[in-house]
């Protein structure tokens, strides 16, 4: 009896602890920032990670409205990293395109040099 009631009390305490998660406003700010940054470097909905980030952030905002702060925080955290990955992918893609263009220019230059000499 004693142990059972202790267990029940602990379980209730744990649940209460979950419910008492503070509103993740700072995390929301970080996620918004990451989303903006990804878009600033040119990420669009064509980048799957950005689309995912936006969907998760929308759901996080829904959880926030429902006062379900733990869910809101976790979704926002995932959305932040999804957005950061989208940004990194776009930057890599861009540098890859620059490399391709520069390679082509160098080949052209070499060819011209061969013709002149």
């Amino acid at each position: 009896m004693r142990i059972q009631s202790l267990c029940a009390a602990l379980a209730i305490l744990a649940l209460a602890g979950c419910a008492a998660d503070p509103a993740p406003t700072e995390q929301f700010r970080l996620t918004e920032q990451a989303l903006e940054q990804a878009k600033a470097v040119g990420a669009t909905d064509d980048v799957p990670e950005l689309k995912l980030a936006e969907q998760k952030f929308t759901r996080a905002q829904g959880s926030m409205a429902d006062q379900s702060f733990k869910n809101a925080r976790m979704r926002a955290e995932q959305a932040e990293l999804d957005a950061r990955l989208a940004e990194a992918r776009v930057l890599t893609q861009k540098s890859q395109e620059q490399l391709t263009a520069l390679d082509a220019r160098i080949i052209r230059l070499r060819k011209q040099l061969g013709e002149v000499q």
């Binding site: 059972q4 930057l91 890599t92 540098s95 490399l99 070499r110 040099l113």
Partner: protein, 270 residues
């Protein structure tokens, strides 16, 4: 009391079973996946060098997921931190790829500049050689090396008698001249007109100057800066042959183009 007790105990058992189910399913494989991603970036020296902070975060999130997996009822949290760890690993790899691309870009840019310089030099050399070739052409065409420098003679046939306008048969020669002056931008010329001794001296002076000016005008029209061209008329002075024969007089009716050296130094006018 006893009903309540039974009910509470049953609920507790049910809850525990549910939570346990969550923890064991899905979260275990998410943890394994995150772990193998983390291992692969951790063992990649390029990623470690280029994105150390992301690798560290991947490790921290993974450790947290791992710790949480020891508790019952933590399935969602384990999956969450495993997901974060997985993402950090992917971000680390992506950052590393980008950094390596940038390194390569910097190297290739240097190479491009080097090649461009080499090409410019090669082209310049070939143009200079072409210029030399043209110079040879002009020299072989109608120039003589005199004490006044390189002199090109446009003969009498390029003008109608008594007229100052250049005939169209002069086009070829004039074009070559223009090309030569464009390839040798520092050279300047003096265009000198001469006549034979028939006619009044004053008329001859005027005609010789008008013919020299006609040649200069064509050069200017074709894009040679007029500052590079001097014009002189000498009338019947400085004959190259005696004016006694028709052949001699024809030779004396001429326009001479005196070239400066490559640095633009032109001999003094007569």
């Amino acid at each position: 009391m006893s009903v309540f007790k039974k009910l509470g105990g049953g609920l507790l058992v049910l809850g525990c079973a549910g939570l346990f189910g969550c923890a064991s399913q899905g979260s275990e494989s998410a943890l394994q996946q995150a772990n193998s991603s983390f291992q692969s970036v951790k063992d990649d020296s390029n990623v470690l060098r280029n994105a150390p902070r992301d690798v560290i975060r991947a490790g921290e999130s993974l450790a947290r997921a791992d710790r949480l997996s020891n508790y019952w009822g933590s399935g969602a949290d384990v999956r969450h931190y495993a997901y974060l760890s997985q993402r950090y690993s992917e971000i680390a790899r992506e950052h590393s790829n980008e950094a390596m691309n940038q390194e390569r870009l910097a190297k290739l840019e240097l190479e491009r500049q080097r090649l461009q310089l080499a090409l410019r030099e090669a082209k310049l050399l070939s143009v200079q050689q072409q210029g030399k070739w043209l110079e040879e052409q002009i020299v072989s065409l109608a120039t003589t090396e005199t004490d006044r420098g390189l002199v090109m003679t446009l003969g009498d046939v390029l003008f109608d008698t008594g007229e100052a306008d250049l005939k169209s048969s002069a086009n070829r020669t004039v074009l070559k001249l223009v090309q030569f002056l464009q390839l040798n931008p520092k050279r300047v010329v003096r265009i000198e007109g001469y006549t034979d001794s028939t006619g009044a001296r004053q008329d001859n002076l005027q005609l010789s100057r008008a013919r020299a000016q006609a040649v200069a005008d064509v050069l200017i029209d074709l894009g040679i800066d007029e500052k590079r061209i001097q014009v002189e008329g000498y009338g019947d002075e400085y004959p190259v042959e005696a004016n006694a024969s028709e052949r001699g007089r024809a030779k004396n009716r001429r326009v001479e183009i005196v070239f400066s050296d490559e640095k633009g130094r032109l001999g003094a006018a007569r």
